[in-house]
Assembly symmetry: C2
């Protein structure tokens, strides 16, 4: 059982995570995470590993499972997000493991080792909850650790996320040795984003030593950032008000939010924006027919010229008819 | 209380989410989410809203809170990820609300309306848990709904995420009316990614009608995709094996994973890769000194030329000395 324990306080652990730990014969995890669940593991076999021993944790888990033990491998946050789920499947595949045959109703062939992943709130979810509503819409998670990832890969992702105006959560932003990565991230962001972009640095969310600091893209490197910090960088609409970081969801594109909530001219509640896909496609055809070049249109919409060209070559489809309830 | 109830089975709800619902006088939410917590809300005031009434839910919550009611506003997944936290703060700010003064120890000034966000596992976490370990590393969440977001904004994010090789979760991929958005997403991805890229379509994870389907970037649009689906698109390293979608974490960059796990030549356990930031900076300086142009280096590393130029202009810093335990 790959158990995501959430931010670290038992309050924010799921019932299934708690039950998985209770069912387990053996608990394996990084020492710090083991401490977070100390009151749930009395009387069990405990295997504490250091931070560098991720593959060891997975190998040890497989060995115990082969002995017939029920193993809970603990991750903080979500086991699937920079957690133990990935390394464990890598080790399992490498060891020739195959999942036990399921009959489609959850019945497992005897003898096989079954793997269950117990999801939890990742740092991005818990840190966001502590500062307001910074995500609310499209976001990226990027780890600044270059211990397993080449720097150009990380830099390309930072550049892309900054350019496309994602809200970004930086995991592993800084450590004793890795101090320059966060400065490089800042430099890459400043090529596309305003220095005033709100930034929140959240350390140990929901734990005893929780610390929240607000900064801007220009000042973020002066903040206290460490191995237990997550850095949240807003998008171009993100605001900080009354000590809360909030990214508006886009209601102002459709409603007169300041003036009583009436629908703006040309917009319809429950329907795509006039600048949504269908409206945009129509206007693109009209603008092109009126003589605007593909290059002009590509620059205006900040999209690749070949995408604009291919789009113009496709017929306009009539809007589909709704068959079920639609969204806001 | 803005309560993220997780994927929808009470097993995967946190203790705090359960307690918040138990404490509440009034429960407000989309009808489907109210059904998911039906067994926890007997005897309470229940306000069911339709999917299009997000702002109404927030306005109603504020009105009840002003009457002195303790309100639980329910979101599926995480309240902060395409959930009710964003719209609620927008409504609160609009109504002139300010957070009650805290004395730093959680004591609230009498009379103020206090807001608590209860984080939960978002669809990205729960869907990932059901298909293997597709995230494990850098990822993006992108909503294909154009009801509040102009299409060029969505298209730019799809293009950037595809180019920078993120694992991507598409929220709101398709509805009765919005059928072409997913095809456009596919087209934007195919400009940068292999048609064989693994894709998983997860519907109603952990709920009664859960359905998981694997596809590729080339075939994804033939899958059964609807309002309750999340579409997970792998990165260039993602594999599907034995019915599990897994994105390797990068151990193969440092260790001889196939041949017993020894460290590769030039690499050190617990330290940055030789192609990590410091190693990359050194090599960049050497290559440039050997006569390679900024343009050649930019093309090789697929990074903007001005970033390469600025990087070359900066002095090389000595590697910082670790002060605390480092990561893997």
């Amino acid at each position: 059982m790959l158990v995501g324990i959430g931010p670290g306080s038992t309050d924010h652990m799921t019932a299934r995570a708690r039950a998985a730990i209770a069912e387990a014969d053996t608990i394996i995890g990084y020492v710090t995470y083991i401490k977070l669940v100390a009151d749930l593991i009395e009387g069990k076999e405990i295997i504490r590993k250091s931070m560098t021993e991720e593959l060891d944790r997975a190998i040890e888990s497989l060995a115990r499972a082969r002995e017939g033990k029920k193993v809970a491998l603990i991750s903080s946050g979500d086991a699937g997000v920079y957690g133990m789920a990935g390394p464990t499947f890598e080790v399992l595949f490498q060891a020739g493991w195959t999942p036990p045959a399921f009959d489609g109703h959850g019945v497992v062939e005897p003898g096989g080792i079954e793997v269950e992943i117990v999801p939890g709130a990742s740092a991005i979810n818990s840190c966001a909850a502590r500062v307001g509503a910074p995500l609310t819409h499209d976001f990226c998670a990027i780890s600044l650790s270059d211990l397993l990832t080449p720097w150009p890969t990380i830099a390309r992702r930072l550049d892309a996320a900054a350019l496309a105006d994602f809200v970004v959560a930086l995991y592993n932003p800084k450590s004793g040795r890795r101090t320059r990565q966060i400065e490089e991230a800042q430099r890459l962001f400043l090529r596309h984003r305003s220095p005033d972009t709100p930034v929140a640095i959240v350390k140990s969310a929901y734990r005893r030593r929780e610390r929240i600091e607000f900064a801007t893209l220009a000042t973020m490197c002066e903040a206290d950032i460490g191995m237990l910090s997550t850095v949240l960088i807003g998008n171009s609409n993100t605001i900080v008000r009354h000590g809360l970081m909030v990214t508006p969801r886009g209601y102002a594109n459709k409603y007169d939010v300041e003036g009583g909530g009436t629908t703006l001219a040309g917009e319809r509640p429950g329907r795509s924006l006039s600048t949504g896909l269908n409206g945009w496609l129509e206007n693109l055809q009209l603008d092109h027919a009126a003589g605007e070049s593909i290059e002009t249109l590509a620059r205006r919409h900040r999209l690749p010229a070949d995408y604009i060209r291919d789009t113009l070559a496709q017929p306009l489809a009539a809007e589909a008819v709704a068959t079920t309830e639609e969204e806001a």
